[in-house]
Assembly symmetry: C2
Homo-oligomer: 433 residues x 2
């Protein structure tokens, strides 16, 4: 005799980002067993992570425990841990020492920073993927000013007050703007020996424009906005070498102690274990229904998926709305097939409904492209605020972020300026008192 | 020729806690040069730190950069770093590689956790002194439930769901209450395999009552309150040994994976370099004017000071109001003497104006002793909330904490449940799926 529970399909979702969570949620009230595992206990609203790194928000404002998000959905169990291996033939995934058999596997493990073959740079130039990354960047940025205040050696002090952001996509643009705001608005009165407004913020982009995924006039607007704030934007520039205290941009050696990496992502390494085609960025090339070739029961969604939208013939971008739509799409397939009890003969293809994209540059300044229309300046900035507030995971976060933003806006202050972790000054020559 | 600045006295304040900050602030507009150094870049509202450890508040709610607090006080410079040595005869302090000469030295470096000679216990049983401590305790507490959810071994699971708080003072009482609230109210719906309401919270106190500094009926009230919530209170009990996964209480070996240390403090080790008498807890025995014997220019204030109040003949307690009063008292002396240009012949003695003390136990439950009158229950709890909101460093923090409290109160939720740092499960035998 088999019980109803035994007949139910087992769905293993790996990853609690936008893709994984929206897939799990779209399967609510479906008579299946879902296990959702993630390496971290929280779902993160990644588009605002740079504001944790730049001391505007606290981690809890933009992150929420995955268990908490799914607490009322009885068909989901949540696990904390890393998937270490997959046996596609036996349909078993290995997670934190456990072997989890599945009927459907949904891989939504996202991407990681790509250092283009220079993995040793990751220590010198942290990227921005997790809360821990953001707190590390915050620590480094704040510590740089503390060190500069007491550094008697002019050259070393200039290097401490030089911030280089690598990569001119939305994250890079937003980081560069926020770093300049800290220097120019937030902390000038806090220091006695240094003029923080002289801090250099340099944004490096390999192509000939910022915000490559948006219309070119918006890239120009963003550049003008940043340059108006005093950010140095260098297009057609590449980091050729990194060492402690120096970044090489092309042939130029620039003394700079603070490098932030926002230059690109590649698929998580576990993708290699699938034994299927990966693109140059390490993403999994999936079929139009987001499954992998030969395994209709294995889906790859979110930033890890390389999928061509059949209507536009373009690769679907690694952005939150696309990830959420993929999650819902796959949930729809699974829901139908688990009712039918078989794999659909002709599964539909995934289409991305691109509602637009946007990036903020600074106070009252943003750029947005919505359904082919371009906006910039204050209207885009207000829209950006709204669009980033509404989807915040719970009502409390929304209020809390709104409060922090309003406060920062009115007071020109950033209140989460706490150095946690190692707070030891490294100074070449200390200022005599 | 000497300039005005050269004639001005140099005041070195070490420590940015309640004592150091209130001393610096009370010297505003005084024609002197103040340097305030601290190992951390923030001033911390320590009475609410347990709420960071128990995921109610974010660090930025109760901590603020010292520079920011003192940004408008032009006679202060702030330094980040540790004082490593003092030369009392030459009046020079060593700070982060710098030699800082002083006319007055104010030591306000506080206390550290005391493991009563078992320093190796500090790894197993973290205390609660800094933001990093609180985040580490939060990480351990949340991870314990994650591990218990997947732990198939009954005994190991019970150990993971056993929380032992050592020390029945205000911090221990508040931690124990908050840990039980998490287990009983906040997370039961988040887990599928375990019943979190069965988690044991055990509070160990060496003496025959809780809250030894308060009237005895309040200790009883607090105990009743905790026991009503399901906390096991063990009086006249001592931790005799600690090892990974086990705590020995007297002769009993209790399997418990989560130990939190709130059992006592001792003076910071730098106090030994002063070469003056220390009490058994390592605090500096100061003269009635809070200076050290033979050095009227060196003051010790806050938790590091052992001072007898001449009116009550009792040692002044290591609490925030006493620290602030000491800071203001010493600032008054320095202000007068720097105007006079000489040390006062007959300095006044420090008196502590004890307005009362209080501790919260749980929802609607607290105990308070105000000017000899004892309160408990809801009135004491409301008073506790008020008394802990008002002195929060800035207006923004006050609003933010009020918001978090209101939210937690209404929703029975604690929103900062993020595991940062190492989030790897350690499970003896994993539950099969």
């Amino acid at each position: 005799m088999t019980t109803a529970a035994e007949q139910q399909k087992n769905i293993l979702i790996v990853g609690g980002g936008f893709a994984g969570i929206s897939c799990a949620k779209a399967l609510a009230n479906c008579p299946i067993n879902i296990i959702l595992v993630d390496q971290r206990n929280y779902h993160l609203f990644q588009p605002l992570l740079y504001q944790v790194a730049t001391a505007v928000l606290s981690p809890a404002d933009i992150a929420s425990p995955i268990r908490h998000i799914l607490r009322n959905q009885q068909n989901v169990k949540v696990g904390l841990g890393k998937m270490t291996d997959i046996d596609l033939d036996k349909k078993i995934a290995h997670f934190a020492g456990n072997r989890v058999p599945y009927d459907y596997l949904v891989l939504a493990i996202g991407a990681q920073d790509s250092y283009f073959g220079h993995d040793q740079w990751s220590q010198l130039a942290p990227g921005l993927k997790t809360v821990d990354d953001a707190l590390e960047i915050r620590r480094r940025v704040l510590l740089a000013y503390e060190e500069a205040e007491w550094e008697a050696d002019d050259e070393s002090r200039r290097a401490k007050l030089t911030f280089v952001v690598v990569g001119g996509g939305p994250t890079g643009v937003e980081m560069a703007g926020a770093l300049k705001e800290i220097a120019a608005e937030t902390i000038p009165k806090d220091f006695r020996h240094i003029d923080t407004t002289t801090a250099r913020v340099i944004l490096i982009e390999g192509s000939d424009r910022l915000l490559g995924a948006m219309p070119s006039q918006l890239g120009k607007k963003a550049q003008q906005g940043l340059e108006g704030m005093g950010v140095e934007v260098r297009l057609n520039s590449f980091v050729t070498d990194l060492s402690e205290g120096t970044v090489a941009i092309g042939d130029e050696e620039l003394p700079a102690e603070n490098i932030i990496w926002a230059a690109g992502v590649r698929g998580s390494q576990i993708a290699e274990k699938l034994g299927v085609e990966l693109d140059r960025a390490g993403r999994v090339v999936v079929t139009p229904d987001l499954s992998i070739p030969g395994h209709p029961e294995v889906f790859v969604i979110g930033d890890l998926a390389h999928v061509i939208d059949p209507r536009t013939n373009q690769i679907v971008a690694g952005v939150a709305p696309a990830a959420m739509q993929m999650g819902k799409f796959v949930a729809g397939l699974i829901r139908r097939e688990s009712t039918m009890g078989t794999v659909e003969k002709a599964r539909p293809a995934f289409h991305y409904h691109d509602k637009g994209s946007m990036a903020t540059v600074g106070r009252n300044k943003a750029v947005a492209s919505i359904k082919g229309r371009s906006f910039s300046g204050l209207p885009a900035w207000l829209l950006w605020c709204l669009v980033h507030l509404i989807p915040l995971v719970d009502f409390r976060s929304r209020l809390s972020v709104m409060f922090s933003w309003t406060w920062s806006y009115l007071s020109y202050s950033k209140n989460a300026r706490l150095i946690t972790g190692d707070a030891k000054l490294k100074v070449k020559s200390i200022r005599k008192e």
